[in-house]
Amino acid sequence: MSELLRCENLTKDYGGFRALNGINLSLESGKIVGLLGPNGSGKTTMIKILNGLLTPTAGKIYINGHEPGVETKKIVAYLPDNIYLGTWMSVKQIVDLFTDFYADFRPDLAYDMLGRLGISAEVKLKTLSKGNKEKVCLILVMARNALLYVLDEPIAGVDPATRDYVISTIINNYNPQASVLISTHLISDIEQVLDEVIFINNGNIVLQKTVDEIREENGKSVDELFREVFRW
């Protein structure tokens, strides 16, 4: 197992507000990791820096040894926390776009997953329901053979059936050499698939442990520990 992600003193200020406070972090490959924290704790900020959408105020982030750039974008599959695709595009146009740009994208797998959901390739994204739009976005991400999957709030705001679909899609499609970083505040739903958790609060890493360690050392589930750590 090798180091896939490293943060060194990663800091981000928004005006006077410090969203990330000098984070140091290391993640190995082959893990499903939960990035857990309340709203506004810095989860999305960290994920956006990882994807090169935000520029850090200070510090560095390395993905497979590279700072965010073309090399990291080839190996990171990112699901943002909002609908980010041009809604005028048809599903097929979006699949074509992913096929063109990501060498690790598997269009046959994407069409297979879309077909099982009954989503036609010809349909325009804007005509789909919110839930189906989110499923399309997830399918596009999981149909890549990436080294690091970064999923920002993949199960927030969807019904329980869709939530199950999302979780099973993640488990069934990620390859064991890759890592998955899932940010969420809905811990109980995702707890059973996590290998490791990172608790983040007010821009600081509060805790980084494997789920087994939490169960053995604290005698608690991740959800219980989270509620304890973030009690207010």
Partner: protein, 270 residues
């Protein structure tokens, strides 16, 4: 990768600009069609003038729309939700910027060509031939007075000047939008502010320059220039045109660098 970017960029442009071009051609054909019923009646007069006015409006609208669509596309595709995809594709910010500028420019040229074609259609064959004849006559005159080589180069230089001016127009707005993104909030308002602020600064520089000329400090330089123009009238036009092209190209490059630097080093999508 740039090739793929350009391909997808053109696809997204076609969706919005093909209808614009189609309307333009349609209006040209309509204006021509009305003329088949030429007569002295008031009804014909009204139809002809209204179709002609509509045609002229569609020419202006197509130019404006082409420019606006280019700007909106740049903003939406890079700085709104779509930017999440644009900036996570395995391409460099420079490639994104280059593609946006190139395709905007390309479609401006296409719009101008479609305007020319639809004008030829609208004016009808007889008028078109007259216009072409007049053009040919003027060209002959130009070649006669300046020599073929000079005349040809003047035409090439003027065309180049128009082309760099189009690119410059886009890059200026790109730079304003990008600088506006540095603001914490009201980013579009900030971009508009940057544009007007910049225009005001240019105005002030221009006024100071004119005031300086009025004081006569440049008189010796002007004398040298006017002597030169009198001695080499044909060459002076070349020098003037080429300097203008270079000047606009350098300014365009500065706008490009500003935009590039911001999306490379200060991208903050929220």
């Amino acid at each position: 990768m740039v090739g793929k970017l350009i391909k997808h960029e053109i696809k997204s442009y076609l969706r919005t600009l093909l209808p614009v071009q189609a309307v333009l051609l349609g209006m040209g054909i309509l204006t021509r069609f009305v003329q088949f019923f030429e007569s002295d009646s008031t009804a014909y007069g009204i139809s002809f003038w209204s179709s002609l006015i509509l045609f002229i409006i569609s020419i202006v609208a197509s130019l404006l729309l082409t420019f606006i669509i280019g700007i909106v596309r740049f903003y939406k595709n890079l700085f709104t939700g779509e930017g999440y995809l644009s900036f996570t594709l395995p391409v460099t910010p420079g490639q994104q910027l280059f593609t946006k500028a190139l395709v905007s420019f390309l479609f401006s040229v296409i719009t101008i060509i479609v305007i020319l074609i639809s004008s030829i259609i609208a004016m009808g064959t007889d008028v078109s031939i007259e216009v072409l004849k007049a053009g040919g006559y003027l060209l002959g005159k130009l070649f006669e007075e300046t020599g073929v080589a000079n005349g040809l180069f003047y035409i090439i230089e003027v065309l180049l000047l128009i082309l760099v001016a189009i690119i410059c127009g886009y890059l200026l707005i790109y730079a304003c939008i990008s600088i506006g993104q540095l603001a914490r909030k009201n980013k579009i308002l900030a971009a508009v502010g940057v544009y007007f602020g910049y225009s005001v600064v240019l105005q002030i520089i221009g006024t100071i320059f004119v005031a300086l000329i009025a004081t006569g400090v440049f008189a010796p330089i002007f004398r040298i220039i006017s002597d030169f123009i009198e001695t080499y009238p044909l060459g002076s036009i070349h020098i003037g045109l080429i300097l203008s092209i270079l000047f606009i190209a350098v300014i365009s490059f500065v706008y490009y660098l500003i935009t590039y630097f911001i999306i490379k080093k200060h991208l903050n999508l929220e």
